[in-house]
Symmetry: C2
Subunit: 362 residues, 2 copies
């Protein structure tokens, strides 16, 4: 069995959960849809497979203390701090340096910190298979989610559903990626759903560290060169300074665009374990338990003639009268009242606050 390391990407400064998410308390550090914060649940979910010593978390300076506090079992040296956000490719490359130092043949499981999976047993089954395929094949593996609706908010992965003889894992339910597709419009999403060939891009990756670092060297050579400079000083006092200099030179690029779409052979495992990226308040409503009136209520509230609404009262008291299909989110200093289906526009609120430099609510 290979050494397995998990890399949890936790640097996001999501604005889609305003007013709960703020610069200092992004989504992954909040209790959004379950007991425990999203990152705590992410760690809990995999810690039955991977011991805490092998779990790395990549975050930023502002969030580091909260991450460390929320994850007391993760060793301090496993929490990696990026000086600035540069999207997922540099984040994964940086984590790769720490993994290959410990074991150049290790398998690296890259996971977002802010997703949920309802069926955790099935999730771990898929992940175990992916680890096995990644170790044996030396290829890049991703998990594609069985779509349940024509979602326009996700990227898609088109898979090869026939056995073309080039895929030794086909009988194990592992497909090869045909192409990666950007977020589609509704018509295209409907086609994707109908075709049966498309899966949602989950942002989960499994690979040997030598495989991904090799692909980064091949496809993102400038980035790789900067990463090598950082690798030279991993234990040095100059680490932070060298890292910052490197990151200033590294361009912002996603692993999907920078590597996955250009890689030669990518395998995809079909995930059907109640996955959600919990990308918006609308999605929180979708995955939440509801009462008979279709309301999902957290905190102290009195709902009169109210239906199909999401109410988060924080530590306040919320009363609603004769409303429906609303999202009502209350925090210490701010209140959001948003029509259900429009929660992507919460970004507009955050943009407004940025534009007006009203930083106290950011």
């Amino acid at each position: 069995m290979p050494n397995v390391y998990a890399v949890i990407m936790a640097g996001g400064v999501g604005s889609r959960f305003w007013p709960r998410s703020r610069e200092k308390s992004p989504k992954q550090l909040l209790e959004i849809a379950n007991k425990g914060t999203m990152i705590q649940n992410t760690v809990k979910r995999i810690s039955r497979m991977i011991e805490p010593e092998n779990i790395l978390v990549v975050t930023n300076k502002v969030q580091k203390p909260i991450v460390a506090k929320q994850l007391p079992k993760i060793p301090a040296e496993n929490i990696i701090v990026e000086p600035i956000g540069r999207n997922t490719a540099p984040c994964i490359g940086l984590a790769g340096l720490f993994v290959r130092r410990r074991d150049p043949e290790a398998v690296m499981v890259v996971l977002p910190s802010d997703h949920i999976m309802l069926d955790e047993e099935e999730f771990r089954r898929v992940l175990n298979l992916a680890i096995w395929v990644a170790y044996e094949s030396g290829k890049l593996i991703t998990v594609g989610i069985q779509p349940t609706r024509p979602e326009t908010g996700y990227g898609y992965i088109q898979v090869i559903n026939e056995d073309d003889g080039k895929n030794p894992y086909f009988s194990r339910g592992v497909s090869m990626v045909k192409t990666f597709a950007e977020k589609p419009n509704l018509a295209t999403a409907l086609q994707f759903l109908k075709s049966g060939d498309f899966l949602w891009n989950s942002g989960m990756f499994i690979w040997r560290v030598d495989a991904i670092m090799g692909e980064i060297e091949r496809l993102l050579p400038e980035m790789y060169r900067e990463l090598l400079k950082v690798e030279d000083v991993l234990d040095d006092k100059s680490f932070e300074h060298v890292l910052e200099t490197a990151y200033r030179k590294i361009r912002s690029i996603s692993i999907d665009y920078g590597v996955m779409e250009k890689a030669k052979q990518v395998f995809v495992l079909r995930g059907d374990f109640g996955w959600s990226d919990v990308g918006s308040w609308d999605e929180v409503y979708r995955i939440s338990g509801k009462d008979e009136q279709g309301n999902s209520v957290t905190g102290k509230a009195f709902l009169q003639d109210t239906k199909d609404s999401l109410v988060y009262a924080g530590d306040k008291f919320v009363a609603t009268v004769d409303v429906d299909n609303l999202i009502v989110i209350v925090t210490d200093d701010a209140v959001l009242v948003c029509k259900r289906g429009r929660s992507q526009d919460v970004k507009e609120v955050v943009d407004y606050l940025r534009r007006k430099q009203i930083s106290e609510y950011l």
Copy 2:
């Protein structure tokens, strides 16, 4: 010219402005529709006619310190504290004791503390005429408001619009009351509006103190007997104790029901000065200035695709997305989201809190 005293009734513990109004901060002590609290504006409105020494305020124990603080020009001895609320008749009788001690022939102007008048000049003109008629005639005078819509939330006054020879003030625009009508249903309210004979009962009264005390003696003799016991000890140490004993015996009754409806001759002056009793959040919306989208916003807020809504942000930040016809009221510890037109149901929220004994939000 007679001595004129104003009696401002400020004991109400309104629940219709929850979450802003609470037991300790009822409507009259809040800035609801204008700069300044409602009671401050009530005093300001009449202090151009009546000096502060002649303005009495009747309130309760809990509110007294706030009343005194909000009205620094009113002498402390002019703030009368009722031990318990017993509706308007005992309140007026009690104030009458204080007025007639100063001048038994004085005219007493009784005003609610929580109404607004847009045209204050006209209000004072009507009040001056009422004072003159009250002094000269010795009759009870009330102000009826020219109705502008078939309101079902107010009582009405039917007036005699013809000169029947019994009304010496007819040529001055003073009518005699034919009857008082309870809050009507919509069909009746429409009839009232159409007839032209009906005015809204404003709860403002003007009379000589000897006239009203005489009518209380005649129509509410038991109450009057208790009031006499209180009158005996107005300056005594035992005042508070005697007052409380009296109030425990006095039954709760409104001046309308106890006196006005049974009094022999009541004059009514027509008020057309932009009056509102500001009885609900819906009424606040009605009388508020609105922007082009029909929104009335107080405080820090960002409204996206929002129209015809009332937003009060308190000291929080409120964002709304794709909503209309909403009332959103935010205080330190509570939030109300209510469909416009349903703000009378705020009482249901308060009832719920009482039933569940969640007193912190009451």
